[in-house]
Subunit: 204 residues, 2 copies
DNA sequence: GTCTATAGCACGATAGAC
DNA sequence: GTCTATCGTGCTATAGAC
């Protein structure tokens, strides 16, 4: 890993626990194992490191959506129709994937914490936070459930309300089991219970 | 309002948007309209201001739980039984109260933002955050729904799963409509839709 | 209980040697 | 691309006049 990559890596770790303002350039340099002045050969300012992290996450999100087979903004409808019939088991698996990705993925987990911390000091950051963890998620799940209703897996219902009923517990448990004090296994167990209750409620 | 109270007030505003580390003692003093050195006649350190805010919130939470008729830790079961039969309309009203309190109450709204920002830098803060917005809420709602099932308002179901299905959307919408960019009315409307869908699902 | 002044330190960032 | 040295600033906190 290049020094530049290591700076981004260590900066993300520090930003995600102590915040942007709570992290000094020297903290980052110490973590990397170089002097703070050397860091300025790779980035022209502290802010540029932050911006690089946001860009890096955007790149990884796009890559991940391909791996998951998740649709991006423009093809969301097409992708839902490409699923074929989605079983309850596949829904459980999807919720696990989303939960573990946002909680534990080495980059995504820290990135989510960082945005959670920084959202109130900057409107642009708040917009990115809401887009990723709220609007995009709900929009995607809404299309998914519209398709599952069409397929006859679920009975007729308000797909957007369903999406919130499906995703809100994931979001809630994500925030609850975010602490090192909580075991991820407990979180996964509670998540699965909620998804099965959800499926039971809407099953045709 | 005394100078000491005004310091707490302005500090909370700043901590809740820029974070503890992002707020200097001078920022607080400027907002109050005194010199930073004068502030040390009221508090011996910046940290003491933070701690005073946390104590003040604990006091207000207790007062508010009496106003709402919400039970505290020790009398949670007794209080649920004191409700009498709870209608769906009363449930809608309860969700509105909780939502608006945590979102808009002049103190509670800023306090929640502050804890959201500061939760990852300190385990003790994280524990307070989880207790208030997760554990206590879910525990209280679980007892509430156990009682509503007993009363025959809702059909037999896992009361804890119900509590999460009721509260997670409140928590999600709270975080979504936290931004000045979003209208509170839209949030309340979306909340009511979710609560009515919830009631429809579990209604006997 | 407010002020001025300042101690003592950490901050982000730059200059220049190697 | 790393280092040492340093600039100018802002930080928490204290001392002491009024």
């Amino acid at each position: 890993m290049s020094t530049k990559e290591r700076i981004v890596e260590e900066a993300l770790t520090l930003f995600s626990s102590r915040g942007y303002q709570g992290t000094s350039v020297k903290n980052i340099a110490d973590a990397v194992g170089i002097k703070d002045s050397s860091l300025y050969k790779h980035f022209k300012s502290k802010k540029e490191i932050f911006e690089t992290i946001v860009e890096e996450m955007a790149r990884r999100m796009e890559a991940m959506s391909h791996t998951f087979g998740l649709p991006d903004d423009t093809t969301v409808e097409a992708a839902a129709f490409a699923y074929g019939v989605i079983s309850v088991e596949e829904l459980v698996e999807l919720s696990r994937k989303v939960f573990l990705f946002y909680l534990q993925d080495p980059f995504a987990g820290r990135f989510r914490r960082m945005l959670t911390i920084e959202q109130y000091r900057d409107r642009e950051i708040a917009a990115v936070y809401r887009k990723i963890y709220m609007e995009d998620s709900i929009r995607y799940q809404t299309v998914l459930f519209e398709e599952m209703i069409r397929q006859g897996v679920f009975r007729e219902a308000d797909a957007r309300a369903m999406a919130i009923n499906f995703y809100a517990p994931i979001f809630f448990l994500l925030n609850k089991y975010d602490s090192p004090e909580c075991s991820v296994e407990d979180g996964l167990e509670e998540l699965e219970r909620q998804v099965r209750e959800f499926a039971r409620i809407y099953h045709k």
